[in-house]
Protein backbone atom coordinates (compact mmCIF):
# COMPACT_ATOMS: atom_id res chain seq x y z
CA UNK A 1 0.00 0.00 0.00
CA UNK A 2 1.62 3.25 -1.02
CA UNK A 3 1.28 6.76 0.30
CA UNK A 4 -1.15 7.76 -2.43
CA UNK A 5 -3.48 4.88 -1.67
CA UNK A 6 -3.40 5.69 2.01
CA UNK A 7 -4.16 9.33 1.31
CA UNK A 8 -7.12 8.25 -0.82
CA UNK A 9 -8.30 5.96 1.90
CA UNK A 10 -8.14 8.74 4.47
CA UNK A 11 -10.00 11.10 2.14
CA UNK A 12 -12.69 8.45 1.71
CA UNK A 13 -13.02 7.97 5.48
CA UNK A 14 -13.36 11.72 5.93
CA UNK A 15 -16.02 12.00 3.26
CA UNK A 16 -17.98 9.14 4.79
CA UNK A 17 -17.69 10.74 8.22
CA UNK A 18 -16.08 7.63 9.70
CA UNK A 19 -14.44 8.59 12.97
CA UNK A 20 -12.30 5.51 13.61
CA UNK A 21 -10.85 2.93 11.29
CA UNK A 22 -8.37 0.08 11.47
CA UNK A 23 -6.83 -1.92 8.64
CA UNK A 24 -4.27 -4.70 8.59
CA UNK A 25 -2.67 -5.82 5.40
CA UNK A 26 0.64 -7.73 5.27
CA UNK A 27 2.97 -6.10 7.74
CA UNK A 28 1.30 -2.72 7.49
CA UNK A 29 -1.27 -1.79 10.05
CA UNK A 30 -3.13 1.47 9.93
CA UNK A 31 -5.18 2.96 12.69
CA UNK A 32 -6.91 6.25 12.04
CA UNK A 33 -8.92 8.13 14.57
CA UNK A 34 -10.10 11.67 14.25
CA UNK A 35 -9.21 13.71 17.34
CA UNK A 36 -11.60 15.18 19.88
CA UNK A 37 -15.22 14.37 20.52
CA UNK A 38 -16.41 16.42 17.62
CA UNK A 39 -17.76 14.33 14.80
CA UNK A 40 -16.17 16.62 12.27
CA UNK A 41 -12.85 15.21 11.11
CA UNK A 42 -9.91 17.56 11.30
CA UNK A 43 -9.03 19.26 8.07
CA UNK A 44 -5.45 18.19 7.86
CA UNK A 45 -3.94 16.12 10.52
CA UNK A 46 -4.27 12.56 11.66
CA UNK A 47 -3.18 11.46 15.08
CA UNK A 48 -0.92 8.45 15.42
CA UNK A 49 -0.80 6.87 18.77
CA UNK A 50 2.22 5.15 20.10
CA UNK A 51 1.44 2.10 22.18
CA UNK A 52 2.36 1.34 25.76
CA UNK A 53 3.99 -2.03 26.21
CA UNK A 54 5.02 -2.34 22.57
CA UNK A 55 7.63 -5.00 21.86
CA UNK A 56 11.18 -3.77 22.34
CA UNK A 57 11.73 -3.47 18.63
CA UNK A 58 11.44 -0.05 17.05
CA UNK A 59 8.16 0.75 15.41
CA UNK A 60 8.48 0.14 11.74
CA UNK A 61 8.23 3.22 9.67
CA UNK A 62 6.78 2.64 6.29
CA UNK A 63 5.89 5.01 3.50
CA UNK A 64 3.57 6.88 5.80
CA UNK A 65 3.41 7.10 9.53
CA UNK A 66 2.50 3.61 10.61
CA UNK A 67 2.44 2.36 14.16
CA UNK A 68 2.76 -1.12 15.59
CA UNK A 69 -0.53 -2.92 16.10
CA UNK A 70 -2.47 -0.72 18.44
CA UNK A 71 -3.79 -2.51 21.44
CA UNK A 72 -6.88 -0.84 22.90
CA UNK A 73 -4.79 2.22 22.61
CA UNK A 74 -4.33 4.61 25.44
CA UNK A 75 -2.85 7.52 23.57
CA UNK A 76 0.73 8.34 24.48
CA UNK A 77 1.62 10.96 25.29
CA UNK A 78 -1.74 11.25 27.05
CA UNK A 79 -3.88 13.58 25.09
CA UNK A 80 -4.22 16.76 26.95
CA UNK A 81 -5.68 19.89 25.51
CA UNK A 82 -2.92 22.41 26.00
CA UNK A 83 -3.99 25.67 27.58
CA UNK A 84 -4.45 28.45 25.08
CA UNK A 85 -1.03 29.99 25.50
CA UNK A 86 0.97 26.77 24.99
CA UNK A 87 2.72 26.64 21.66
CA UNK A 88 3.62 23.20 20.31
CA UNK A 89 6.81 22.73 18.31
CA UNK A 90 6.50 19.88 15.79
CA UNK A 91 9.05 18.03 13.70
CA UNK A 92 9.10 18.97 10.02
CA UNK A 93 10.72 15.64 9.08
CA UNK A 94 10.79 11.97 9.97
CA UNK A 95 13.98 11.07 11.81
CA UNK A 96 15.75 10.44 15.08
CA UNK A 97 15.46 13.00 17.89
CA UNK A 98 18.63 14.30 19.54
CA UNK A 99 18.46 16.64 22.52
CA UNK A 100 22.11 17.69 22.27
CA UNK A 101 24.54 18.61 19.48
CA UNK A 102 26.61 15.48 20.10
CA UNK A 103 26.43 12.46 22.42
CA UNK A 104 27.54 13.38 25.92
CA UNK A 105 27.22 17.12 25.48
CA UNK A 106 24.56 19.04 27.43
CA UNK A 107 21.08 19.32 25.87
CA UNK A 108 20.24 22.36 23.78
CA UNK A 109 17.39 23.20 26.16
CA UNK A 110 15.65 21.86 29.24
CA UNK A 111 12.26 22.29 30.82
CA UNK A 112 12.07 25.63 32.59
CA UNK A 113 14.43 27.41 30.18
CA UNK A 114 13.43 30.74 28.72
CA UNK A 115 13.60 30.33 24.98
CA UNK A 116 14.21 33.01 22.39
CA UNK A 117 12.56 32.79 18.98
CA UNK A 118 15.06 31.24 16.59
CA UNK A 119 16.89 29.36 19.33
CA UNK A 120 17.88 25.78 18.43
CA UNK A 121 15.84 23.31 20.52
CA UNK A 122 17.05 19.95 19.20
CA UNK A 123 18.24 18.07 16.14
CA UNK A 124 16.20 15.58 14.16
CA UNK A 125 18.45 13.41 12.02
CA UNK A 126 17.47 11.45 8.94
CA UNK A 127 19.96 9.94 6.51
CA UNK A 128 22.91 11.80 8.05
CA UNK A 129 21.10 15.04 7.50
CA UNK A 130 20.99 16.99 10.74
CA UNK A 131 17.94 19.20 10.97
CA UNK A 132 18.17 21.92 13.58
CA UNK A 133 14.73 22.59 14.98
CA UNK A 134 14.31 26.16 16.12
CA UNK A 135 11.74 27.75 18.37
CA UNK A 136 9.34 29.82 16.30
CA UNK A 137 8.14 31.69 19.36
CA UNK A 138 9.74 33.11 22.50
CA UNK A 139 8.69 31.85 25.91
CA UNK A 140 9.22 29.30 28.63
CA UNK A 141 9.86 25.69 27.69
CA UNK A 142 7.27 23.87 29.80
CA UNK A 143 7.28 20.40 28.35
CA UNK A 144 9.59 18.08 26.45
CA UNK A 145 7.43 15.48 24.72
CA UNK A 146 10.01 13.05 23.35
CA UNK A 147 13.18 11.37 24.58
CA UNK A 148 16.72 11.40 23.24
CA UNK A 149 17.30 8.89 20.44
CA UNK A 150 13.60 8.32 19.83
CA UNK A 151 12.29 7.88 16.27
CA UNK A 152 10.07 10.79 15.32
CA UNK A 153 7.25 11.01 12.82
CA UNK A 154 6.50 13.88 10.52
CA UNK A 155 4.54 16.47 12.46
CA UNK A 156 5.15 14.82 15.83
CA UNK A 157 4.94 17.10 18.86
CA UNK A 158 8.38 17.79 20.34
CA UNK A 159 8.08 20.63 22.84
CA UNK A 160 5.52 22.86 24.45
CA UNK A 161 6.42 26.50 24.97
CA UNK A 162 4.42 28.93 27.09
CA UNK A 163 4.40 31.95 24.86
CA UNK A 164 5.76 35.12 26.38
CA UNK A 165 3.11 37.78 26.34
Amino acid sequence: MNQKEIKELIRFLKEEGITEFELERGDVKIHVKWGGDSAAPPTHETRYYAVHGAPPVAPELGAVPVVPPPAPAPPAPPKEEPPEDLHIVRSPIVGTFYESPSPGSPPFVKVGDMIAAGQVLCIVEAMKLMNEIEADVAGELVKSLVTNGQPIEYGQELFAIRVRK
Binding site: V57, I93, G95, S102, M127, L129, D136, G149
Partner: protein, 348 residues
Protein backbone atom coordinates in the same frame (compact mmCIF):
# COMPACT_ATOMS: atom_id res chain seq x y z
CA UNK B 1 32.24 5.78 12.93
CA UNK B 2 35.89 5.82 13.77
CA UNK B 3 37.86 8.97 14.26
CA UNK B 4 39.59 9.40 10.94
CA UNK B 5 43.10 10.64 11.32
CA UNK B 6 44.73 11.30 8.04
CA UNK B 7 48.34 10.81 7.09
CA UNK B 8 50.75 13.64 6.40
CA UNK B 9 50.29 15.62 3.21
CA UNK B 10 52.18 14.29 0.26
CA UNK B 11 52.01 16.98 -2.31
CA UNK B 12 52.96 20.09 -0.49
CA UNK B 13 55.84 20.58 1.86
CA UNK B 14 54.92 20.36 5.54
CA UNK B 15 54.81 23.84 6.97
CA UNK B 16 55.71 25.36 10.27
CA UNK B 17 52.39 25.87 12.03
CA UNK B 18 52.95 29.61 12.27
CA UNK B 19 53.01 29.91 8.47
CA UNK B 20 49.39 28.80 8.24
CA UNK B 21 46.94 31.66 8.51
CA UNK B 22 43.92 30.68 10.59
CA UNK B 23 41.72 33.23 8.91
CA UNK B 24 40.47 33.49 5.36
CA UNK B 25 43.00 33.13 2.59
CA UNK B 26 44.16 36.41 1.04
CA UNK B 27 42.39 36.36 -2.34
CA UNK B 28 45.47 37.98 -3.90
CA UNK B 29 47.38 34.70 -3.49
CA UNK B 30 44.97 33.04 -5.90
CA UNK B 31 45.06 36.05 -8.19
CA UNK B 32 48.86 35.86 -8.44
CA UNK B 33 48.62 32.17 -9.33
CA UNK B 34 46.04 33.01 -11.98
CA UNK B 35 48.29 35.70 -13.51
CA UNK B 36 51.27 33.33 -13.51
CA UNK B 37 49.14 30.53 -15.02
CA UNK B 38 47.89 32.87 -17.74
CA UNK B 39 51.53 33.59 -18.68
CA UNK B 40 52.89 30.13 -17.98
CA UNK B 41 55.60 30.26 -20.67
CA UNK B 42 57.31 33.46 -19.56
CA UNK B 43 58.55 35.14 -16.43
CA UNK B 44 56.18 37.88 -15.30
CA UNK B 45 57.61 40.98 -13.63
CA UNK B 46 56.54 41.97 -10.17
CA UNK B 47 55.36 45.31 -11.56
CA UNK B 48 53.08 43.63 -14.11
CA UNK B 49 51.62 41.30 -11.49
CA UNK B 50 51.12 44.28 -9.20
CA UNK B 51 49.28 46.17 -11.94
CA UNK B 52 47.02 43.21 -12.70
CA UNK B 53 45.98 42.58 -9.12
CA UNK B 54 46.09 46.18 -7.96
CA UNK B 55 48.96 46.15 -5.51
CA UNK B 56 52.57 47.31 -5.25
CA UNK B 57 55.66 45.48 -6.48
CA UNK B 58 56.96 45.05 -2.95
CA UNK B 59 53.61 43.63 -1.82
CA UNK B 60 53.78 41.17 -4.75
CA UNK B 61 57.19 40.05 -3.50
CA UNK B 62 55.77 39.53 -0.01
CA UNK B 63 52.82 37.51 -1.37
CA UNK B 64 55.15 35.40 -3.58
CA UNK B 65 57.18 34.58 -0.47
CA UNK B 66 53.99 33.58 1.29
CA UNK B 67 52.99 31.29 -1.59
CA UNK B 68 56.43 29.67 -1.46
CA UNK B 69 56.10 28.94 2.25
CA UNK B 70 52.78 27.30 1.36
CA UNK B 71 54.60 24.94 -0.98
CA UNK B 72 53.88 26.60 -4.33
CA UNK B 73 56.85 26.19 -6.68
CA UNK B 74 57.61 29.66 -8.11
CA UNK B 75 60.91 30.41 -9.89
CA UNK B 76 62.53 33.81 -10.12
CA UNK B 77 63.01 36.92 -8.01
CA UNK B 78 62.12 40.63 -8.21
CA UNK B 79 64.89 41.37 -10.74
CA UNK B 80 63.95 38.58 -13.21
CA UNK B 81 60.22 38.30 -12.73
CA UNK B 82 58.34 35.19 -11.58
CA UNK B 83 57.28 31.95 -13.23
CA UNK B 84 55.28 28.99 -11.94
CA UNK B 85 57.17 25.71 -12.12
CA UNK B 86 53.95 23.68 -11.85
CA UNK B 87 50.36 24.75 -11.34
CA UNK B 88 49.81 24.15 -7.64
CA UNK B 89 47.12 21.76 -6.47
CA UNK B 90 45.62 24.34 -4.12
CA UNK B 91 41.84 24.71 -3.98
CA UNK B 92 41.88 28.49 -4.49
CA UNK B 93 38.90 30.22 -6.07
CA UNK B 94 40.98 31.47 -9.00
CA UNK B 95 42.42 28.01 -9.64
CA UNK B 96 38.97 26.35 -9.49
CA UNK B 97 37.18 29.02 -11.50
CA UNK B 98 37.55 27.45 -14.98
CA UNK B 99 36.33 24.06 -13.69
CA UNK B 100 33.16 25.42 -12.09
CA UNK B 101 32.13 27.80 -14.84
CA UNK B 102 28.37 27.70 -15.42
CA UNK B 103 27.60 26.04 -12.08
CA UNK B 104 25.92 27.47 -8.98
CA UNK B 105 29.25 27.54 -7.25
CA UNK B 106 30.68 30.94 -8.09
CA UNK B 107 31.55 32.14 -4.59
CA UNK B 108 34.41 30.03 -3.32
CA UNK B 109 35.94 30.96 0.01
CA UNK B 110 39.28 29.29 0.64
CA UNK B 111 40.98 28.76 3.99
CA UNK B 112 44.43 27.37 4.58
CA UNK B 113 43.28 26.32 8.00
CA UNK B 114 39.88 26.31 9.64
CA UNK B 115 38.05 24.57 12.47
CA UNK B 116 35.29 23.09 10.30
CA UNK B 117 34.05 24.11 6.87
CA UNK B 118 30.53 23.03 7.88
CA UNK B 119 30.48 25.35 10.87
CA UNK B 120 31.78 28.24 8.74
CA UNK B 121 29.19 27.50 6.05
CA UNK B 122 26.29 27.20 8.55
CA UNK B 123 27.27 30.49 10.19
CA UNK B 124 27.64 32.23 6.84
CA UNK B 125 24.32 30.82 5.64
CA UNK B 126 22.56 32.04 8.80
CA UNK B 127 24.11 35.44 8.07
CA UNK B 128 22.66 35.45 4.56
CA UNK B 129 25.41 33.90 2.42
CA UNK B 130 23.94 33.23 -1.03
CA UNK B 131 23.13 29.84 -2.43
CA UNK B 132 26.17 28.34 -4.11
CA UNK B 133 28.68 29.66 -1.56
CA UNK B 134 31.52 27.17 -1.12
CA UNK B 135 33.81 26.93 1.89
CA UNK B 136 36.92 24.90 1.23
CA UNK B 137 39.99 24.37 3.41
CA UNK B 138 43.42 22.87 3.00
CA UNK B 139 43.23 21.74 6.60
CA UNK B 140 40.54 21.36 9.26
CA UNK B 141 41.40 21.28 12.93
CA UNK B 142 37.91 20.24 14.06
CA UNK B 143 36.42 18.49 11.03
CA UNK B 144 33.08 17.00 12.01
CA UNK B 145 31.30 13.73 11.43
CA UNK B 146 28.04 12.33 12.69
CA UNK B 147 27.35 12.87 16.39
CA UNK B 148 30.62 13.35 18.24
CA UNK B 149 32.75 11.84 15.49
CA UNK B 150 35.49 13.94 14.06
CA UNK B 151 37.01 14.05 10.63
CA UNK B 152 40.56 15.15 11.25
CA UNK B 153 41.72 16.54 7.99
CA UNK B 154 45.42 16.74 7.24
CA UNK B 155 46.80 19.59 5.24
CA UNK B 156 46.30 19.46 1.49
CA UNK B 157 45.94 15.68 1.37
CA UNK B 158 42.17 15.69 1.03
CA UNK B 159 39.22 17.81 0.02
CA UNK B 160 37.31 19.43 2.87
CA UNK B 161 34.46 21.35 1.42
CA UNK B 162 30.98 22.64 2.39
CA UNK B 163 28.41 24.19 0.09
CA UNK B 164 25.37 26.34 0.92
CA UNK B 165 22.10 25.47 -0.82
CA UNK B 166 18.71 27.11 -0.48
CA UNK B 167 16.23 24.71 -2.07
CA UNK B 168 12.68 25.91 -2.39
CA UNK B 169 11.36 22.67 -0.86
CA UNK B 170 9.59 21.53 2.27
CA UNK B 171 12.13 20.02 4.69
CA UNK B 172 10.93 16.45 4.22
CA UNK B 173 11.54 16.73 0.46
CA UNK B 174 15.07 18.03 0.99
CA UNK B 175 16.26 14.88 2.78
CA UNK B 176 17.01 13.18 -0.50
CA UNK B 177 19.87 15.65 -1.02
CA UNK B 178 21.76 13.39 1.33
CA UNK B 179 21.62 10.52 -1.19
CA UNK B 180 22.22 12.85 -4.14
CA UNK B 181 25.47 14.11 -2.58
CA UNK B 182 26.92 10.59 -2.38
CA UNK B 183 25.94 9.95 -5.99
CA UNK B 184 27.65 13.21 -6.98
CA UNK B 185 30.93 12.15 -5.34
CA UNK B 186 30.77 8.75 -6.99
CA UNK B 187 30.12 10.35 -10.40
CA UNK B 188 32.96 12.85 -9.95
CA UNK B 189 35.50 10.11 -9.15
CA UNK B 190 34.40 8.11 -12.19
CA UNK B 191 34.53 11.21 -14.38
CA UNK B 192 38.20 11.68 -13.47
CA UNK B 193 39.16 8.01 -13.72
CA UNK B 194 36.64 5.58 -15.19
CA UNK B 195 38.69 2.60 -13.96
CA UNK B 196 37.82 3.46 -10.35
CA UNK B 197 34.43 2.16 -9.24
CA UNK B 198 33.42 3.50 -5.85
CA UNK B 199 30.62 1.83 -3.91
CA UNK B 200 27.99 3.68 -1.88
CA UNK B 201 27.01 2.71 1.64
CA UNK B 202 23.64 4.04 2.71
CA UNK B 203 23.06 6.87 3.05
CA UNK B 204 26.15 8.42 1.53
CA UNK B 205 29.52 7.02 2.57
CA UNK B 206 31.66 6.44 -0.50
CA UNK B 207 33.84 3.33 -0.41
CA UNK B 208 36.61 1.60 -2.27
CA UNK B 209 37.54 -1.95 -1.34
CA UNK B 210 34.85 -1.72 1.37
CA UNK B 211 36.78 1.07 3.09
CA UNK B 212 35.61 4.63 3.42
CA UNK B 213 37.34 7.40 1.51
CA UNK B 214 34.55 9.97 1.60
CA UNK B 215 32.12 11.05 4.30
CA UNK B 216 29.26 13.49 3.95
CA UNK B 217 27.49 15.41 6.69
CA UNK B 218 24.49 17.52 5.76
CA UNK B 219 23.01 20.14 8.05
CA UNK B 220 19.70 21.84 7.54
CA UNK B 221 17.96 24.84 8.99
CA UNK B 222 14.27 24.88 8.20
CA UNK B 223 10.90 26.25 9.15
CA UNK B 224 7.98 23.84 9.36
CA UNK B 225 7.19 24.07 5.66
CA UNK B 226 10.24 25.66 4.11
CA UNK B 227 13.98 25.05 4.09
CA UNK B 228 16.01 28.13 4.93
CA UNK B 229 19.37 26.65 4.08
CA UNK B 230 21.17 23.35 3.74
CA UNK B 231 24.91 22.87 4.08
CA UNK B 232 26.38 19.78 2.46
CA UNK B 233 29.82 19.02 3.90
CA UNK B 234 32.03 16.62 1.99
CA UNK B 235 35.34 15.18 3.15
CA UNK B 236 37.37 13.13 0.68
CA UNK B 237 40.63 11.33 1.39
CA UNK B 238 42.54 11.97 -1.82
CA UNK B 239 46.32 11.69 -1.62
CA UNK B 240 46.94 10.14 1.79
CA UNK B 241 49.47 7.32 1.37
CA UNK B 242 48.78 5.50 4.58
CA UNK B 243 46.63 5.54 7.67
CA UNK B 244 47.40 4.77 11.29
CA UNK B 245 47.23 1.08 12.12
CA UNK B 246 43.85 1.27 13.88
CA UNK B 247 42.22 2.81 10.83
CA UNK B 248 43.71 0.76 8.02
CA UNK B 249 40.77 -1.62 8.09
CA UNK B 250 38.16 1.11 7.67
CA UNK B 251 39.75 4.11 5.95
CA UNK B 252 41.39 4.52 2.59
CA UNK B 253 42.23 7.17 0.01
CA UNK B 254 41.90 7.46 -3.74
CA UNK B 255 45.68 7.33 -4.01
CA UNK B 256 45.99 4.11 -2.01
CA UNK B 257 43.30 2.42 -4.09
CA UNK B 258 44.39 3.67 -7.52
CA UNK B 259 48.15 3.76 -6.98
CA UNK B 260 48.48 7.27 -8.36
CA UNK B 261 48.36 10.83 -7.15
CA UNK B 262 45.14 12.73 -7.88
CA UNK B 263 44.67 16.39 -8.68
CA UNK B 264 42.43 17.77 -5.95
CA UNK B 265 41.61 20.77 -8.13
CA UNK B 266 40.38 18.51 -10.91
CA UNK B 267 38.40 16.31 -8.53
CA UNK B 268 36.76 19.18 -6.64
CA UNK B 269 35.89 20.79 -10.00
CA UNK B 270 34.22 17.56 -11.14
CA UNK B 271 32.46 17.20 -7.79
CA UNK B 272 30.99 20.72 -7.84
CA UNK B 273 29.81 20.11 -11.40
CA UNK B 274 28.07 16.84 -10.57
CA UNK B 275 26.60 18.33 -7.38
CA UNK B 276 25.29 21.24 -9.45
CA UNK B 277 23.67 18.80 -11.89
CA UNK B 278 22.04 16.70 -9.13
CA UNK B 279 20.72 19.79 -7.38
CA UNK B 280 19.30 21.46 -10.48
CA UNK B 281 17.64 18.21 -11.52
CA UNK B 282 16.07 17.84 -8.08
CA UNK B 283 14.55 21.31 -8.29
CA UNK B 284 13.60 21.27 -11.95
CA UNK B 285 12.89 17.73 -13.12
CA UNK B 286 9.66 16.08 -12.00
CA UNK B 287 11.18 12.57 -11.92
CA UNK B 288 14.42 13.56 -10.17
CA UNK B 289 13.58 11.79 -6.91
CA UNK B 290 12.84 8.52 -8.68
CA UNK B 291 16.08 8.95 -10.63
CA UNK B 292 18.10 9.40 -7.43
CA UNK B 293 16.49 6.33 -5.82
CA UNK B 294 16.99 4.24 -8.95
CA UNK B 295 20.63 5.25 -9.41
CA UNK B 296 21.38 4.66 -5.75
CA UNK B 297 19.93 1.16 -6.07
CA UNK B 298 22.05 0.57 -9.18
CA UNK B 299 25.30 1.94 -7.81
CA UNK B 300 25.24 0.72 -4.22
CA UNK B 301 26.00 -2.87 -3.24
CA UNK B 302 24.32 -2.03 0.08
CA UNK B 303 20.92 -1.25 -1.38
CA UNK B 304 19.67 -4.80 -1.66
CA UNK B 305 20.62 -8.28 -0.50
CA UNK B 306 23.42 -7.17 1.82
CA UNK B 307 23.86 -8.63 5.30
CA UNK B 308 24.13 -5.65 7.56
CA UNK B 309 24.27 -4.57 11.15
CA UNK B 310 22.42 -1.34 11.92
CA UNK B 311 23.32 0.82 14.90
CA UNK B 312 19.89 2.18 15.64
CA UNK B 313 17.53 1.52 18.54
CA UNK B 314 20.04 -0.69 20.27
CA UNK B 315 21.25 -2.33 17.05
CA UNK B 316 19.79 -5.03 14.84
CA UNK B 317 20.79 -7.25 11.95
CA UNK B 318 19.21 -8.22 8.70
CA UNK B 319 19.35 -8.18 4.93
CA UNK B 320 18.83 -4.96 2.99
CA UNK B 321 15.72 -4.79 0.85
CA UNK B 322 15.96 -1.58 -1.15
CA UNK B 323 14.96 1.99 -0.33
CA UNK B 324 11.47 3.25 0.35
CA UNK B 325 10.00 6.21 -1.55
CA UNK B 326 11.62 8.67 0.85
CA UNK B 327 15.07 7.11 0.51
CA UNK B 328 15.11 5.28 3.84
CA UNK B 329 16.81 1.89 3.85
CA UNK B 330 14.64 -1.18 4.40
CA UNK B 331 16.13 -4.11 6.25
CA UNK B 332 14.49 -7.53 6.54
CA UNK B 333 15.08 -8.83 10.06
CA UNK B 334 13.97 -11.91 11.94
CA UNK B 335 11.17 -9.75 13.38
CA UNK B 336 10.01 -8.33 10.06
CA UNK B 337 10.81 -5.44 7.80
CA UNK B 338 12.39 -2.43 9.47
CA UNK B 339 13.15 1.01 8.12
CA UNK B 340 16.43 2.70 8.97
CA UNK B 341 16.08 6.43 9.53
CA UNK B 342 19.51 7.49 10.62
CA UNK B 343 21.59 4.67 12.05
CA UNK B 344 25.03 3.67 10.86
CA UNK B 345 24.91 0.61 8.61
CA UNK B 346 27.82 -1.85 8.47
CA UNK B 347 28.42 -4.92 6.36
CA UNK B 348 28.37 -8.08 8.42
Amino acid sequence: MPIIKLAKPTRLRPLPAAAVPVQKTDVRLGQIIRVLTDHAMVAVSGTKIGDEIGTSRSEVWRLIQQLRTLGVAIDGHPATGYQLRTVPDLLLADVLAPAVKGTLFQQIQHYYKIGSTNIAAMEAAAGGAPQGSVFVAEEQTAGRGRGANRWHSARSAGIYCSVVLRPNLPPSDALILSLAAGLAVQAAVRAIDSRVHPDLKWPNDVLLDDKKFCGILTEMNAEATRVRHVVVGIGINVNQQKFPEDLREVATSLRIESGKEWSRVELLGALLKSLDREYRDLLEKPNARESILRRFAEHSSYARGKNVHVEENGGFEGVTEGLDARGFLRVRTAHGLRTVLSGTVRAK
